[in-house]
Each structure stands twice: as C-alpha cells, then as structure tokens.
C-alpha cells in the first residue's frame, strides 16, 4: 500500500467498486436483486453498473425474494458466482426458507457434493426513521445457522475488500451492510482490494476495558471510547467483522489484557449475538474477568417511527460509557 494514491470515497462507493472489480475479474459473477439495475440499487450501491455490464449480469428481479435468492443458490450450485442483493434484512425473511433449508444445508445433506458459493448482501439496522418493518438488526439470527458465514463490514476498507474474499469462499456468505454507513466518508488507497474475512480487528487499542461491537455501532462505540478516555479510562475497541465464525482468539486475547468487557449490539438483547459472545467469554476467559460482562443492546421493541423513540431504542455512546464505568467500577 505504500506509495499508493489516497482517494476520498464513501462506504457506498467502496461497495460499488468491490462489485465492479468482481464483475471484471470473474465472468461467473453477476448481481441480482430488486431494483439493482435501472434504479441503481435501493441505496444507490449499484448505480451505473447496468450501463457498464448490461442487463444479463446486472439483473433486476421481481419482488420475489424466495425465488431470486433460491435462484442464486441454484446458479451457485451449478457453477456461477452470484451476488444476490436483498433490500433489507426484514425482507430476507421471505427468503429464509431458501437461505436456511437450501444454502446452509445442501453441502451437508448431499454428503459434500453441493457447495453453494453464493454471496448475499443486505442492508440491516435502524437510524433512518423507517419504523418497524425496515429497521431491525437480525444478523444475529443468521449467525445461529451452521453452513453459512456472516460478515459485517463497518469500515470503508471492509466495504471495499470483503466482497471479493467472500466470492472466493466455496460456501454461502451473508454480508450485512448497516444502512447508516452508506454515506460514511473517508479515504482509501486507490489500490485497496481484498481483505481477510476471518479475523476481528482491534480498532482502538486500550488497556482498561474491552468494548466489543460490529457494523453500525462501531462508530458509536468509538465515540464512547473517546469519552471514556477523557475520564481516564483507556478502552480497547474490537470490531468483530466476521459474526460467524467468531474470532474467539482476538476476543479472549483482549479480555486477558483488560479483564473487563462491554458488548455493544444493535440487535435485541434476548438470544442476541451479544449473548453468544458473552457466553464464549464465560467459557473461555472466565478467570480473566474482574467484572461481569456488560451488554448494551437494542431495546426489545419493534422499531418505532419517531426519532426520539428510535434513538432511545438504539445503543448510544452514553449508555456504552455508563456500562464501561460500571464494569471498571
């Protein structure tokens, strides 16, 4: 990367660059989903790609999640490398049969014959006042399913680099893009490309407490870490990046150093990914802990429309800092 030109970009543009690169490098790759073509993508991620690659490879679908996700699975099984876009995670439930009963299951059920090298991208999360059927963070549900991998790019680098690596994977990979991130601005080296999709990343090194998060709450968590620093609490921030499989080593390594943990997860608290991470820490690093593991999660409510209620339902920096203070005692 040394010497490479640094360019200004956004999360949306980084994702688009990743799709473009995949389309250019591999003829088997195509993008399919609702309004990915003429409309340019519900979140404008695929804007311009139809003109560049044509309607065979940038494929608008009818509103039929089960059919086009299943078609992606079938095409992957038959040798293609589809990228299927689902507008939001709430809509993905219409395709849950295909994801769970086929994508995640075919390899095992066929005794290792039917691999499904499919990537499904979808938007997740709240913050845009789009109420109770467009706002949830259900990626934790998907992490329950053996046979799939679940990624949550939270940075420009990951938006740019995770897709290609996911497409090289012989198994189905789900990529969750938090809706609040698309306008995230920053810089990337002009030659930025594929990144590892196995390891968690330490986004801020610290010694007093570990704040574990992913996706849309990474920014909030870093804000909380800054506030804590002003109070003399040096927080380490871990971005999980891969939600399944989880990188236990990075988590327990940090806990061994800080002895205190707060997990931040926009998903509902009960049965959450935060609960799984907490259980793993208990199983693998119990004797390193100096305080109970704290969780800051989404309130257990279908997301309300008004801004003040929506914000009250989401993990906020102040709540994260308060949980950290509690753990530090």
């Amino acid at each position: 990367m040394t010497g490479a030109e640094i360019v200004k970009t956004t999360y949306r543009e980084a994702m688009r660059a990743a799709i473009r690169e995949a389309m250019q490098r591999d003829d088997r790759v195509f993008l399919m989903g609702e309004d990915v073509g003429r409309y340019g993508g519900c979140f404008a991620v695929s804007m311009g790609l139809l003109e560049e690659f044509g309607s065979e490879r940038i494929r608008d679908t009818p509103l039929s999640e089960s059919a086009f996700v299943g078609a992606g699975i079938g095409a992957a099984m038959a040798g293609m490398r589809p990228i299927v876009e689902i507008m939001t995670v709430n809509f993905s439930l219409l395709a849950l049969d295909q994801i769970m009963n086929n994508a995640a299951t075919l390899l095992h059920m066929s005794g290792g014959q039917c691999s499904v090298p499919l990537v499904i991208r979808m938007t997740t999360g709240a913050g845009r006042q789009v109420a109770a059927q467009h706002s949830h963070s259900l990626e934790g549900w998907y992490t329950h399913i053996p046979g799939i991998k679940v990624l949550a790019p939270a940075t420009l680098e990951d938006a740019r680099g995770m897709l290609w690596t996911a497409l090289q994977d012989p198994d189905p990979v789900l990529i969750f893009e938090h809706g609040s991130l698309y306008n995230l601005q920053g810089t990337l080296p002009a030659d930025a490309g594929a990144v590892d999709i196995r390891a968690a990343a330490v986004r801020r090194a610290g010694t007093d407490i570990t704040l574990i998060t992913y996706g849309g709450t990474l920014g909030t968590t870093l804000t909380a870490a800054d506030a804590l620093a002003a109070e003399g609490i040096d927080a380490e921030v871990i971005d999980l990046r891969s939600l399944r499989p989880l990188d236990d080593k990075t988590i327990t390594g940090s806990v061994a150093k800080t002895h205190r943990v707060v997990i931040v997860d926009e998903g509902w608290r009960t049965g959450s990914l935060a609960a799984e991470v907490s259980a793993r820490i208990m199983e693998q690093a119990f004797w390193d802990l100096d305080a109970p593991v704290e969780r800051v999660c989404g309130a257990e409510v279908p997301m309300p429309y008004p801004r003040h209620l929506e914000q009250a339902a989401l993990p906020q920096a102040e709540a994260i800092a308060a949980a950290a203070r509690q753990a530090v005692g």
């Binding site: 065979e56 039929s64 299943g70 079938g74 293609m80 066929s110 005794g111």
Partner: protein, 332 residues
C-alpha cells in the same frame, strides 16, 4: 414434435421394453424398501412413488446426460430413472457412507452432482427456485441444457411456485416444470386445497406452454416431455407439464390413509402404469408372461445384491459428524 420423437426414439419394441424395465426397477426397489422399513432396517420418512413410475420414466427419456434434475422428497423414481447406481441409492436408504449422499441425506435427499441430479428437496416448493437458478446458470453460460424440475400438486399452493413460474417465464429460462399431480398434498385432496384445480391452466397464466398429460402412460409422458424439451432447447422458454397420476401407497410409511376411499385407490390401480404398458406389449406380441417374470427376477436379484452390499457397508464415523457443514479447510 412427432418429427423429433420419430427421429430420436430407438426402435419401438426395444424402447418399450426399456421403459417397462425402468418402471419395474422403480417398483421393485420400493417394494423392497417397504420390506426393509417394516423390518426396521431403514428409518425416517420414506415416501413411495409406487403408481407414479410412468412419470419419472417418461420424462427421463427426453433428457440427456447434460441436462439437470431438481427433485422432491418422493424421488427414488427420479434418481433411478436418472441412472444413479442401485448400490449408492440402497446404501443411502441404510444411511451408510457408500450412499449417494454418504448416508447424510436418506430417502428424501438423494444427490448425484456428477449426473446433475440436484437432490431430493423436502420443503414443498423449495426445489423450484433451485431449478430456476440452475437454468439461469445455463442461460448465462450459453449452455443448451434443460433443467427438469419435479414437484407435486401440493407445491402449487406455495408462494414459491408462483414466484418461480413468473421468474422462469419472465427470463425465458430453460426449465421443464413437471408437476406430478397425484391428487393429494399428503392427506389434503386437491379440491380441498386449490381454488382452481386445473393446474396447467394456472401455469399457463404465466405465459408458458402448459398442458395436462396422462401420467399413468409412460409413452404419453415421454411424448409430452420430448415435445416440451425440444421446444425449450430451441429457446422456447419454460414449459409446464401437469402429469396426472396417483400414488397407490400412503403418503409416507407413517400415514394410516384415513382421508381417501379404498375404492378410489382400487379404481386407479386398474390403470397401473406397469400393467398398462405390459398389457400393450403383450397384445402386440412383444412380451410374454415368462419375459416379464424373467425381467422381474433379474431386477429383484440386482436389488438384493445392493441390499447385501448396503448392509455390509461402513457407516460414517461419528468423529466426522460436523464434516460437510463447510467446505474443506473451513471451520465454524
């Protein structure tokens, strides 16, 4: 379509004998499955195809080794018609490592990717999107293949059916939709589940050629399937066959069959697809009772050999329990 059938069909008498043998193989295999199930040697759900053999046998005549099949949980017949080895199928029934799915699938999940047999899918309607996807892959690559997708009348009530009819027709994908209408979705009769019971009419409403076929007559099924497959290969987009058939046995081995009349079953048995073809062959002097018996004995012998091999085959090691959840070199 007559033109193609005449061009590519083998000499007629020998061909009819092949069809009869194929149907009898399926019947004998499943009769043995009943015995093995009753003896407790095979378990799980076993959905028998007995009575419907003309459908798999006839449709398969229209397919080449390059074509693909996506099937249901009632797929022993489709797998056998596809030419999957008896040993691998019987071993799968026993859950052995030599089974076509290494014993991990069982009766409902027979796979053979080398023969482009993409499985027994046990979610009703769940295989249709896969078939659409396999056909989409072929279309994108410019391959002239047909994907035959089998499903039952029950699937027509599922949303996935309608999504897939629309998508396949919209994108003009090379799918041969084979609806095995055996009149019952498990225990629910067609007219108790479907507002419009003319299934070909419903498929036709999506803008694809669709017609009903006598699913008890292997030659009629073959004729229809050849005609549809030829049109698909010529770029005619998806076609739909409503194959009117009947299962003579219960839905699965657990089913006490309280929902249908014994007289109805007996009435349909008069049109047993094997008897129907055998009678025609006897009438034209192509088949004697001794021929038929010899054929039956030979098939029974082959199946018995497969049973012996399956009994002796090793089971998957328990240490390998989580193998194939991810591809090699991957961990959860």
């Amino acid at each position: 379509m007559n033109r193609t059938a005449a061009k590519s069909a083998p000499p007629e008498a020998a061909h009819r004998r092949d069809l009869l043998r194929q149907m009898l193989l399926i019947r004998t295999f499943e009769d043995k499955c009943v015995e093995l199930y009753s003896a407790g040697e095979i378990r799980g759900f076993v959905h028998l195809y007995i009575g419907e053999e003309a459908v798999a046998t006839g449709v398969n005549q229209a397919l080449t080794a390059d074509d693909s099949i996506v099937s249901t949980y009632r797929e022993h017949g489709h797998a056998l018609a596809r030419g999957m080895p008896l040993d691998s199928l019987m071993a799968e029934m026993f859950g052995k490592t030599t089974g076509c799915s290494r014993g991990r699938g069982g009766s409902m999940h027979l796979f053979d990717v080398s023969r482009r047999f993409y499985g027994g899918n046990a979610i009703v309607g769940g295989g249709l999107p896969l078939a659409v996807g396999v056909a989409l892959a072929d279309k994108l690559r410019g391959d002239q293949r047909v994907t035959a997708c089998f499903f039952g009348d029950g699937a027509v009530a599922e949303g996935e059916f309608h999504e897939c009819m629309n998508l396949a027709a919209l994108w003009q994908l090379p799918v041969l939709f084979c609806c095995e209408n055996n009149l019952y979705a498990m225990g629910t009769a067609l007219e108790r589940a479907q507002a419009q019971t003319d299934l070909a009419l419903r498929a036709g409403s999506y803008g694809m050629p669709a017609w009903p076929v006598d699913g008890m007559d292997a030659l009629a099924v073959e004729h229809a399937a050849r005609s549809a497959a030829e049109a698909i290969r010529e770029g005619g987009g998806p076609h739909f066959l409503e194959l009117r058939t009947y299962r003579f046995r219960a839905h699965s081995m657990y089913d006490p069959e309280l929902y249908r009349d014994k007289a109805e079953v007996e009435e349909w048995k008069k049109r047993d697809p094997i008897d129907l073809l055998a009678a025609r062959m006897r009438d034209s002097g192509e088949l004697s009772d001794a021929d038929f018996q010899a054929m039956s004995d030979e098939l029974t012998g082959e199946i018995d050999k497969a049973i012996t091999a399956a009994r002796a085959a090793p089971a998957e090691p328990v240490e390998d329990l989580t193998r194939f959840v991810y591809s090699p070199e991957q961990t959860s």
